[in-house]
């Protein structure tokens, strides 16, 4: 496959836009299992004195932390990659049963110029798995849509007590460098 640099050129500003949208939505807790696509946003959140960051050992922990934070009056976001969605299934029953507001930002792997076939099955199942558990999907394909989409997703989550996942397209994240 010929690699056209411009086709994958990441817009470096979108993580900053996501951070702005989260702050404007008064997010006070952010938990994550790292993903290369989320690296810049995780840095921004760590540097933000108004946000409490929690590193997780597995993604479903973040669902429970978010539920607890809401009980205590704080708004949360959970950051993960698409392969982590599969770990979350039963824990999402906590969100559905108690109608907790829930916001997660999911970086997609396995859908666009993917090098690692092990990422593909869960990538293909990501939307279906979330929808089966009652989570609304919003996709961001282009960097320019990152801010308004997360702004809308946060409003839907916290004003209307909904579970919302924003899926960030692998095309937008830029290609992982396998040969350095």
């Amino acid at each position: 496959m010929t690699s056209d640099a411009s086709a994958f050129a990441p817009d470096p500003a979108w993580p900053d836009q996501l951070h702005r949208a989260l702050r404007e939505a008064r997010i006070g807790c952010a938990s994550y299992v790292p993903d290369a696509g989320h690296a810049r946003l995780i840095e921004l959140l760590h540097d933000d004195a108004e946000v409490r960051t929690t590193v997780l050992t597995t993604e479903e922990e973040g669902i429970a932390v978010a539920a607890g934070a809401w009980l205590g009056g704080a708004r949360s976001v959970l950051l993960m990659q698409s392969s982590g969605v599969g770990n979350c299934i039963n824990m999402l029953s906590l969100i559905a049963t108690c109608r907790f507001p829930f916001l997660t930002l999911v970086t997609m792997r396995g859908e666009w110029a993917e090098f690692n076939p092990w990422q593909v099955p869960m990538s293909r199942a990501t939307e279906g798995a979330l929808e089966l558990m009652g989570v609304k999907i919003m996709r961001v394909e282009h960097a320019g849509d990152a801010y308004p989409t997360v702004q809308a997703a946060a409003a839907l989550a916290f004003d209307s007590d909904q579970a919302v996942a924003v899926l960030l397209a692998q095309r937008m994240l830029g290609q992982k460098q396998w040969v350095k």
Binding site: L56, E61, A64, G68, L71, R99
Partner: protein, 199 residues
């Protein structure tokens, strides 16, 4: 550790009642199954969040509450079966260093809700040592009522956590004491207790 002698273990209802006596400002999250029944049997309270499912959640729901409510002590009551499902949570909690947080594992060495099958704690695992290794500021095993009573003041503290206590309880079925299981009601009641309006 050798298999525990269950004949000398604590009565779970008595131990939980003792830990929740004069609870003051304490907020409580309980894990699915008998732990929720025990907490309810000790006296219903608006500051209780009873979980009935989402196995593995309780310790981390409590962490979320503790991080959001730094001026209230938070205690989680759950069973060995649930906490064994979420051993990674011990690491996640420990690195946050929530001073106002205590995790109580009611350890009967059994999956009591599903037919009393033996758990890993009955097969040689000491969970309080795992918590200590993860970095909990304090991690103890309580084997009799006087130890439970001595530990109780720890639950009211806002600093010095996270604390972990295994309470060695007898493997016996208790009469059911069923708290409300409507999650939306429990969520709104808890938040109302903390002064947050229901939309």
């Amino acid at each position: 550790m050798a298999t525990a002698d269950r004949t000398t273990c604590l009565d779970r209802r008595e131990a939980v009642r003792e830990l929740l006596r004069d609870r003051g400002e304490l907020l409580v999250v309980s894990g699915l199954g008998s732990s929720s029944y025990d907490v309810f049997a000790a006296g219903d309270h608006d500051g209780n969040m009873y979980l009935w499912g989402a196995m593995g959640a309780a310790a981390l729901v409590g962490l979320g509450v503790a991080l959001a409510q730094r001026d209230r002590p938070v205690a989680v009551f759950t069973g060995d079966g649930e906490q064994l499902m979420a051993l990674g949570a011990l690491a996640t909690i420990a690195v946050q260093k929530p001073g106002n947080y205590t995790l109580i594992v009611l350890d009967n060495g059994r999956f009591a809700e599903t037919g009393m099958q033996r758990t890993h704690t009955d097969l040689g695992i000491d969970m309080h040592r795992m918590a200590a290794a993860a970095g909990f500021a304090a991690a103890v095993e309580l084997r009799d009522l006087s130890a439970v009573r001595s530990f109780r003041p720890q639950l009211s503290r806002l600093s010095g956590g996270p604390r972990f206590a295994t309470v060695k309880i007898a493997a016996e079925d208790k009469p059911r004491a069923l708290p409300p299981r409507d999650g939306v009601y429990l969520k709104n009641r808890f938040r109302h207790h903390l002064g947050f309006p229901v939309k």
